[in-house]
């Protein structure tokens, strides 16, 4: 029997921020604990939660901690106290917290573990070595399951003494904890570890690979956000968007047909086919579908017709988040005001924090909330232009260290600059769609840079090289860009406007955007929107200040006669503003 035989993962989690420990433990339990311990508590508690293990019950689980370096910060803190304060005043607390097996203490104490424990410090091979004993203990029946954690922290001095004569494979260069609940029962995912050193990175990779796309909390959050959005779209409970109700509460007094339709569509997001009648049933269907299919359908907003589901596979979503994660180093938390079923809300509010091992919180998109208190150093604020504009209009100043990512609609450079000027550490605009997911990112005043997973399909012409389509390198996804994009070198491009989308009027292609431009060209018109309504176009215009609607309308109807017969709007109405969604995208009226 080999030492490296099969072992299976019942649940796992990665934590790279200790903040999440607050979700699982009382503040008094975390008092005086350092980041290294909190990281491990976060990952371990989440792992047990994902496995449905009741932490209050005493259980015969083994605990094995693998750490290449151990509690190096506390070890240095103790030596600092010896050097700075003298032996007589050296810190006993730092010494107690610096022992190699310090994590065992708090993990067993706070997770109520009472089985066998071990700490392994085998440098870059700690994870692989610990797995040998994990398997050995399980084979011997020493414990029912094993919670195996790979945890490390770094100290600034390490970077200073890690010169060229130490190969990178030996160095721990990042902090985090990955925990696995291991069993020999083969109805779980097998754990395979690559030989590549250092194996703390292999542990992180394994944790990411084996973490389900959705956990129960994700499904509830997505469900609630989707139901809120659907109720608002149907002009029922519009203000629910700003509330914190769960699926059951939101649907409590909604009529049967509407409820069933919403729940059916909700199940469809996860690829579920059954027709649930209650929120509980819908969540059950969603959980089952999520576990079985491991896909997610991003639903188009419906701003230009009926919403359409766009299926994204687990592989694509993982590839996307792996690339996006590289753009957002050193984050400690995701704070999102974008619904979690939305492509960007999912990416930045669920998938990215899970990938990075950082906590995620969601707030309603209300600029009036106390955002100075809700945001902290290391946060990623996931938002959209209209919300951010309102935040700026309110005179808001960011606390230090907050990164802002904006998506869902084009963000003017002026707003990106304003966000920077108001203290945002970094401001990034994400370009993408429900069909594609994230495509590219840019900072204020800069071009968009295509994510590496996309290949650009370009066409050269008088106006330069246009980005026509993008093709996902590792899948069949082939997306035509909805906007006019001009390549500006390498994989960078700029957006110059939306492509005209043809619609059919009496069998002929007409272009609402062309008609909009035509109407905007009139001296009485400030802005215009045109769409297909039945078999004809209709137009909504916003008049320039001082123009009178009763007098302007006959003038504009006459003006429109210059268009081709198929282009002439059958109706022209006047509005104070153009209708947009809550995220600032054009909306039907």
């Amino acid at each position: 029997m080999a030492a490296d035989g099969d072992i299976f993962v019942e649940a796992c989690a990665l934590a790279r921020s200790g903040n999440e420990a607050e979700l699982f433990f009382q503040p008094r339990d975390l008092r005086r604990l350092d980041q290294y311990t909190k990281l491990s508590l976060s990952a371990a508690a989440r792992t047990l939660a994902l496995a449905g293990v009741d932490r209050a019950a005493e259980k015969n689980f083994g605990l094995i901690v693998a750490s290449a370096q151990g509690a190096v910060r506390r070890s240095c803190e103790f030596m600092d106290s010896m050097l700075d304060d003298g032996d007589l005043c050296a810190s006993p607390l730092a010494f107690a917290a610096s022992v190699h097996n310090v994590l065992e203490t708090y993990l067993t104490l706070l997770l109520n573990l009472r089985g066998p424990v071990l700490t392994v410090s085998q440098k870059g091979g700690s994870f692989a070595s610990a797995l040998i004993t994990a398997r050995s203990w399980l084979l011997a029946g020493r414990c029912e399951k094993i919670l195996l954690g790979v945890a490390d922290e770094i100290h600034p001095l390490m970077a200073r003494v890690s010169t060229d004569n130490i190969a990178a494979e030996h160095l721990v260069t990042d902090e985090g904890a990955a925990f696995f609940l291991l069993t020999l029962t083969p109805n779980h995912s097998p754990l395979t570890v690559s030989d590549a050193a250092p194996d703390w990175q292999a542990a992180w990779r394994a944790a990411r690979r084996l973490t389900p796309l959705f956990d129960d909390a994700d499904i509830r959050r997505i469900s609630a956000d989707f139901i809120k959005t659907e109720l608002a779209r149907r002009k029922k409970k519009v203000l629910a968007v700003f509330g914190s109700g769960g699926p059951e509460e939101l649907l409590a007094d909604i009529d049967g047909p509407t409820r069933r339709k919403i729940l059916q569509d909700l199940a469809g997001l996860f690829g579920g086919a059954a027709g649930p009648d209650t929120a509980d049933e819908a969540l059950t269907v969603c959980r089952a579908a999520a576990a079985e299919r491991q896909i997610f359908n991003f639903r188009t907003s419906g701003s230009t017709g009926e919403p359409v589901d766009c299926e994204h596979t687990r592989a694509n979503l993982r590839e996307e988040v792996a690339e996006v994660a590289g753009l957002f180093p050193r984050l400690r938390r995701s704070v999102s005001v974008v619904p979690a079923h939305h492509a960007y809300g999912f990416l930045f509010g669920i998938n990215l924090p899970k990938w990075l091992g950082i906590p995620a919180v969601a707030h309603p998109p209300l600029p009036s909330l106390p955002w100075r208190e809700l945001l902290a150093d290391g946060d990623l604020l996931v938002a959209f232009p209209m919300f951010l504009q309102q935040l700026m209009d309110s005179g808001f100043e960011f606390p230090p260290g907050v990164t802002v990512v904006t998506a869902t609609a084009p963000c003017p450079d002026a707003l990106l600059v304003a966000l920077k000027n108001r203290g945002a550490a970094r401001v990034v605009e994400c370009y993408g769609s429900s069909e594609s997911g994230a495509i590219a990112f840019r900072g204020a005043g800069g071009p968009f840079a295509l994510l590496p997973c996309w290949r650009a399909v370009t066409v050269s012409g008088d106006g330069g090289t246009r980005l026509e389509r993008i093709v996902r390198k590792n899948s069949a996804m082939d997306i035509e860009l909805p906007d006019l994009a001009v390549m500006s070198g390498g994989s960078e491009f700029t957006i110059s406007g939306r492509k005209d989308k043809a619609v059919q009027v009496a069998g002929l292609n007409v272009y609402p955007a062309r008609v909009e431009r035509f109407l905007r060209a009139h001296e009485l018109v400030a802005d215009a929107a045109v769409r297909l309504a039945g078999e004809h176009l209709k137009a909504l215009v916003v008049l320039r200040p001082g123009a009178d609607a009763d007098r302007a309308l006959p003038v504009l109807r006459e003006y429109a006669q210059a268009l081709s017969a198929h282009e002439i709007p059958k109706e022209i109405t006047v509005g104070a503003t153009l209708p947009v969604t809550a995220f600032g995208k054009k909306q039907d009226w």
């Binding site: 030492a3 032996d87 107690a96 424990v117 085998q122 440098k123 004993t133 010169t163």
Partner: protein, 401 residues
Amino acid sequence: MNLVVGGYGSVSAAGANTAELGEALFGGRPVRPSLPVTRMNSVYAEKYPIFQAPDSVLAQLRAADDESLSLLYARLAVDEALTMASLSAADLRGLRLGVCLGSSTEASAFSFDFYRQARTGEATSNAPFRRFVTESISDQVLAHYNWRGISQTVTTACAAGTDAVGVGAEWIANGFCDAVIAGGTDHLDLVPYTGFIRLMIADPRPCRPFSKDRRGVTLGEGAGILLLLSPSAAEQLGTPPRGYVLGYGNACDGYHATAPEPGGRGLRKAVAAALSQAGVNASDLAFVNAHGTGTADNDAAEAAVCRELLAGVPVCATKSYTGHALAAAGALEAVISLLALERGEIPKVNFFGEPDEWLMVTPALENQPVAADKTAALSNSLGLGGCNAALVLAGKEHDGR
């Protein structure tokens, strides 16, 4: 579990090898800790003694090769174990081999001296850090003997040596290995020395386990190594058993960072698991080699378990000869247990004052013979953080079933 101990070796303050250790334990050769502690540049060096490795051992350090004291102690003990088994390092190269060692000081990223120099930019070389990140002590042992195999460095503080023997034995029992070099090695430097004093669990006098006037530990250093073989590997090598590992138990307290659970909750489970795996009853035990650090809390928790699970079993407490060798302690005590079983004699405790009526456990105050019908012994370890481990060992007279 029924693993053959083909040989064992040790380095400690009580002897440069196991023969010398035996003279101290059974021959009456006196052993005292060193005071002042000339190796430590500390304000405490005049007050708190340590049991340090003999000068004859320290003189063998290959300083030019950047060898650490932990590696020195380990290789001397491995050499002794191989010699006892009449084997060479080459004899093990054809086997599926494992090295499983307990360690603490050698598993620290920065030695105190290097850290002091590095933080002010005065370090002229990063060699100590490079060695730390590139090779664990168990890998250093593999490399020293030009062996290939699986390796593990166990860092469960003061229980690491016992854990390493139990873990390594189970690797063989589960068919992962034919032979395992198991044990622990540790050396003293200023960090643990100062740390234990600042935790106020170090005794200015030599440690007195289970004594009413006990005040804490006296730190020690050294290595204990067991050459573990599967019965078939022992037969193949022609190595006669010098003892057996029959059982291993491990359980945590889940109680406190530095204090053991007062009732010995974790140790109780560890002992029960070790006895169960060994198929041995407490009444079959010749003696229990207690962890016996000499701290008030540790001895009280261990005494609770001795009273309730091991009533009537003689207790020995040998840290009064070796000091508390931290991650090597459990392995050293496993070696001492095997040596005592082989000699049929239980060593008396050193420096003992008077029995503590609250403990109701008194270690052997004089050397005493092992009962003729008892061939197994229990060796306990309790580590900081509430990790507990126990081994059931048997002498070579054990019938090997």
